[in-house]
């Protein structure tokens, strides 16, 4: 059996979620007694591929073409499906990043494969992969099996571990032919927001809700996030009120997040918000209402005024982390 893992690079940088995907794929490969190949696609990226050896890849294939300088999902999907078919890979893993979620369905159709997306756990039972995926924004978990001959899985970022080892990979270049029709859509430019990590990738998230009383008070949230090197999140109520941008919204109609630490400030904890963040490893809640549902999922709570507690926490952390 041959397993193929896709490692995403952006701007010639491999993403952490790719290391997580490769290491998870390596674990499954081992359990199935299979062989693992990792694929990197892009332009002028041969040099970045070797780093994958430290996460369990023995063999890395690189589709490196100047035509891929600008990302095109149709061309990338073609490269992945073609290499998978050539290598006779029957199990594919991709990160459930925005790029992975865009590519996996196309790859699945090309390979006539079933796709289980956004998996948070994998195990092997009776020689096949069983994947656990959150449904209803994490209100429930569903164990699934893929029954088609070729199976595709995407893995949620920030859930699987990526621990570097001293392994090394053998990197090989492989060619895929592209035609103009493979570039029916292309990325013209990237607008990268400066500074804080995105909530889907952040290890620490500081989130604010209606208890912050207005957009002018969110600097308190930002300052706390910055001391921790974390991302800024928001509840649906404050996004709908226009206090914060949509891309910060955590919850069922926003982003589902799994950081190591989630600090909820002035968030009461509506069902749809809890669904999106309760898989965080540690949750801190700061809210003046002791009956707020957020305290039911919080590991640590302070029942108090966010306008006193949050700045005090920022100051204390500055001291503790030597940033004061």
């Amino acid at each position: 059996m041959h397993i193929l893992a896709f490692a995403e690079q952006r701007e010639k940088q491999l993403k952490k979620s790719s290391f997580e995907t490769v290491q998870a794929a390596k674990g499954i490969t081992h359990q199935l007694g299979a062989r693992l190949t990792v694929l990197v696609v892009g332009s002028d990226i041969e040099g970045v591929a070797a780093a994958l050896g430290r996460y369990g890849a023995d063999r890395v294939l690189v589709v490196d073409s100047p035509q891929l300088e600008r990302h095109s999902s149709t061309a990338y999907a073609k490269a992945i499906a073609e290499v998978a078919a050539r290598e006779e890979a029957t199990v594919l893993f991709l990160p459930a990043s925005q790029m992975g979620k865009d590519l996996a369905p196309r790859v699945a159709v090309k390979l006539n494969a079933g796709l289980a997306s956004d998996c948070v756990a994998l195990h092997v039972k009776d020689g096949e992969v069983v994947a656990t995926r959150p449904v209803y924004a994490g209100k429930a978990l569903l164990d699934v099996r893929v029954t088609s001959p070729v199976k595709v899985f995407t893995l949620r970022p920030n859930v699987f571990t990526a621990t570097p080892t001293d392994g090394a990979a053998q990197v090989e270049k492989v060619a895929v032919e592209f035609s103009d029709s493979d570039f029916a859509s292309v990325v013209r430019e990237m607008k990268v927001a400066a500074g804080r990590p995105d909530v889907t990738e952040a290890d620490i998230i500081v989130s604010g809700g209606r208890g912050m009383k207005g957009p002018e008070n969110f600097h308190l949230i930002e300052e706390l996030a910055d001391v921790l090197g974390g991302g800024v999140g928001a509840s649906r109520a404050v996004v709908d009120a226009g206090w914060r941008p949509h891309d910060e919204q955590v919850g069922q109609t926003g982003k589902t997040v799994s950081p190591t630490l989630y600090i909820a400030c002035g968030i009461s904890g509506a069902v749809q918000h809890l669904a999106g963040m309760s898989s965080s490893k540690y949750i801190v809640a700061i809210n003046k209402d002791k009956d707020a549902p957020i305290f039911q999922v919080a590991d640590y709570g302070i029942v108090g005024d966010v306008f006193e507690v949050v700045p005090a926490l920022t100051e204390e952390l500055k001291k503790a982390l030597g940033k004061g």
Binding site: H71, S73, A77, Q98, K101, D102, P105, R106, A108, V109, G114, S117, D118, V135, Y136, A137, K139, A140, L141, L142, V146, T147, S148, A184, S185, V186, V187, R188, M190, K191, A193, D198, T200, E201, V239, P245, H246, D247, T253, T256, L261, Q272, Y282, V284, A285, F295, V297, D299, Y300, G301, I302, V303, G304, E308, V309, A312, L313, E316, A320, L321
Partner: protein
């Protein structure tokens, strides 16, 4: 411009999930269903495109009789007509996409709109699967969309920023919150929707590739520790985060 919008009928976001006796899905008893919020944004986008470029907007649903409720909502918002591809069986995303793709091949729209994901199974697959099945380009998680000279310039959300994507038409777009603010159906719209047709036809039968084994609740969080009731608790909190949780 012919615009097709695919919509799904899903449990309300405030729903507390109860797992059904067979442990393979949720128990639908007492659950309120609604038009999936991202699909509502897709409907709104379809209406705005029609307002600008003329043409018609067709809403497409796949599922049981109850999906008519959601199609009715799309009609009330202003969609011209609706098609329900009827199927009571359990389908995975691939099978839903195959059903929709079959109908969309016949409809031949210029613009195909989907929500970026349904808020039930959260697979975020159907729109892109359909695009690949029809051999069309697609842009997912769209927060900005401008049509000019048969080309569409979109901004899509990625981790920590936006990608500006250029595509030709016909194409598939998966809409994200922030693209527009969906309108509320007017009373006139609601009345008119009652007279608009919902065409029904059976969805093509296909195999399911992703099988549910068991649905379970996430491990319950033990009730946490209230560290204190004002800012004097902050040093203790930091100590716990450092020594006990080891997250600092």
């Amino acid at each position: 411009m012919r615009i097709a919008v695919c919509v799904n009928h899903v449990p309300d976001t405030e729903t507390k999930i109860k797992i059904a006796a067979d442990k393979r899905a949720i128990d639908p008893a007492g659950v309120n269903y609604m038009l999936s919020p991202y699909d509502e944004i897709a409907v709104e986008q379809g209406l705005r495109l029609r307002e600008k470029f003329g043409g018609e907007v067709i809403a497409l649903g796949l599922g049981g009789e109850q999906h008519k409720e959601t199609l009715r909502k799309a009609l009330a918002m202003g969609v011209d007509r609706a098609v329900l591809l009827k199927d009571e069986a359990e389908r995975d995303s691939f099978a839903v996409a195959q059903g929709l793709a079959e109908e969309l091949t016949a409809l031949h729209p210029d613009v195909l709109l989907f929500g970026r994901q349904s808020i039930d199974y959260d697979s975020a697959q159907v729109g892109t699967l359909v695009a690949e099945m029809l051999g069309l380009p697609s842009v997912a998680v769209v927060v900005k969309m401008e049509v000019e000279d048969g080309k569409v310039i979109c901004e899509r959300e990625i981790e920590g920023g936006h990608e500006v994507v250029e595509t030709q038409l016909p194409a598939v777009f998966l809409t994200q919150k922030g693209l527009n603010e969906p309108r509320y159906p007017s009373l006139k719209g609601i009345m008119a929707a009652k007279k608009k047709p919902i065409e029904e036809k059976p969805a093509i039968a296909v195999d399911v590739r992703v099988e549910a084994i068991v649905m379970h609740k996430p491990p319950a969080k033990g009730s946490g520790k209230i560290v204190g009731t004002d800012k004097s608790a902050v040093p203790e909190l930091v100590k716990l985060l450092h020594d006990e949780a080891k997250v600092l």
